[in-house]
């Protein structure tokens, strides 16, 4: 039976943290721990979540939790798994919560190694599209056109001019047991995928689109709404990879307005018509490929 708000435990395993109000990353951790349960070992590298989560003596994780070195989230997860196996421990889950920078940039080497070893870990990337903890700097998953503190919007630099690294497909290229993209804007879909990851017989990866009111310049109460709109306008997609096959979970008949989505966020306020059209055409190129190649 699928996990939902009614049958989900009332117990909170991530509580009392100092995240900004409306933080999708904290919601991601909250939902994950609801699905994975008390016998989870959470691995949270230096990022917003570990910064707001463990400030001695205030410990907001209710399960076992460790902060690994920044580049080594997946390596520490593999080590925990090996240590647990060696001691014959049973009935536990090793789950990592890394941001986009900790996944796609500095953390990619150890992530690749862990998946390659086929270690049964669940790696959650909460993608708020920049290095938020250090003050909103550009990461490998910063989208085209986003204003960050080191890709300022002006005459010479027009915000970030590179594309998001395709982490979902990079994970699929490792022939990982289970990979999925999700968004806090589609809670039921995300909860279902968390459950699948928990039960996967090998490594799993979930890439969560996680709006950040502080970094994106959005109202704190619009987090779920923006998470939904990103999927509805096609700038994010909900998909899964398993058994050598890609499945598109949601194929909008008609995309909602990209411009409306962008205009709600002050990180995109500097974009002109040419920029918006560029973003739309990049979206169309991507979706042509998705619609041609992925099972629906």
């Amino acid at each position: 039976m699928a996990i939902n708000a009614k049958n989900m435990t009332n117990k909170e395993l991530f509580y009392g943290h100092k995240a900004c109000g409306g933080c999708a990353a904290s919601l991601t951790i909250r939902w994950t721990l609801k699905v994975f349960g008390e016998r989870t070992i959470a691995v949270v590298p230096p990022n917003c979540m570990s910064t707001v989560g463990f400030i001695f003596p205030h410990m907001t994780f209710g399960c076992n939790a460790v902060i690994p070195p920044f580049a080594a989230t997946a390596a520490v997860m593999s080590g925990i798994l090996a240590g647990a196996e060696a001691q014959g421990l049973e009935d536990y889950h090793v789950v990592g919560f890394a941001g986009d920078g900790g996944t796609a940039d500095i953390g990619i080497q150890s992530l690749s190694g862990a998946i390659d070893r086929n270690d049964k870990i669940t790696y959650i990337c909460y993608d708020n599209e920049a290095y938020m903890n250090t003050g909103i700097q550009k990461s490998g998953l910063t989208p085209y056109g986003m204003k960050t503190t080191n890709t300022p919007a002006g005459k010479n630099i027009h915000g970030s001019m590179s594309q998001k690294k395709n982490m979902f497909e990079i994970m699929a290229a490792h022939e990982i047991t289970y990979a999925a993209t999700a968004s806090v804007g589609y809670p039921e879909d995300m909860l279902k995928k968390l459950e699948k990851a928990k039960n996967a017989p090998g490594p799993s990866y979930i890439h969560v689109f996680a709006p950040c009111p502080t970094g994106w310049g959005t109202e704190s109460d619009t987090t779920i709404e923006i998470g939904k709109e990103a999927v509805d306008c096609g700038l994010w997609y909900l998909a899964e990879y398993e058994n050598d096959e890609f499945t598109l979970n949601k194929n909008p008949k008609e995309f909602s307005s990209v411009e409306d989505y962008l205009k709600k966020q002050s990180r995109f306020s500097h974009l002109d018509e040419a920029d918006v059209n560029e973003i739309i055409s990049q979206r169309d190129i991507k979706w042509n490929k998705i619609r041609k190649n992925w099972v629906r």
Binding site: N4, A5, K6, M8, N10, K11, E12, L13, F14, Y15, G16, H17, K18, A19, C20, G21, G22, C23, A24, S26, L27, R30, F56, P57, H58, M59, T60, F61, G62, C63, N64, A65, V184, P187, P213, E219, S220, D221, T222, T223, I224, E225
Partner: protein, 100 residues
């Protein structure tokens, strides 16, 4: 215990009373978060149908669904407003702190 409560932690007098390495029992809270709040959500129990969407989407998990009515833990609610925004029955309204 469904939600951890705030405890007092006194600075140990002797070095041997510190935990071994930077570590501590999980779920040990020493501060509340209500200071981060400007707006406070109030649930109108007449309008609430207990669909539990607010319970689901609260990033801080402050809504307790165990009783007959939903209860917000105001020690840890940050007033982000997601619950009010997402309630399809307009059962939650945001009020400026100090006005209620």
């Amino acid at each position: 215990m469904e939600r951890p409560v705030v405890q007092t932690y006194n600075k140990p007098k002797y070095i041997d009373d510190y935990p071994l390495g930077p570590s501590f029992t999980s779920g040990h809270l020493t501060e509340i978060s209500s200071g981060m709040r400007t707006y406070k959500p109030i649930i109108d129990n007449e309008k609430c149908v207990k669909c539990l969407r607010c319970f689901l989407v609260c990033p801080d998990g402050t809504i307790d669904k165990s009783g007959d009515v939903l209860e917000i833990d105001y020690d840890f609610c940050k007033g982000c407003g997601i619950c009010a925004k997402e309630c399809k029955f307009n059962a939650i309204t945001m009020h400026k702190e100090g006005e209620i």
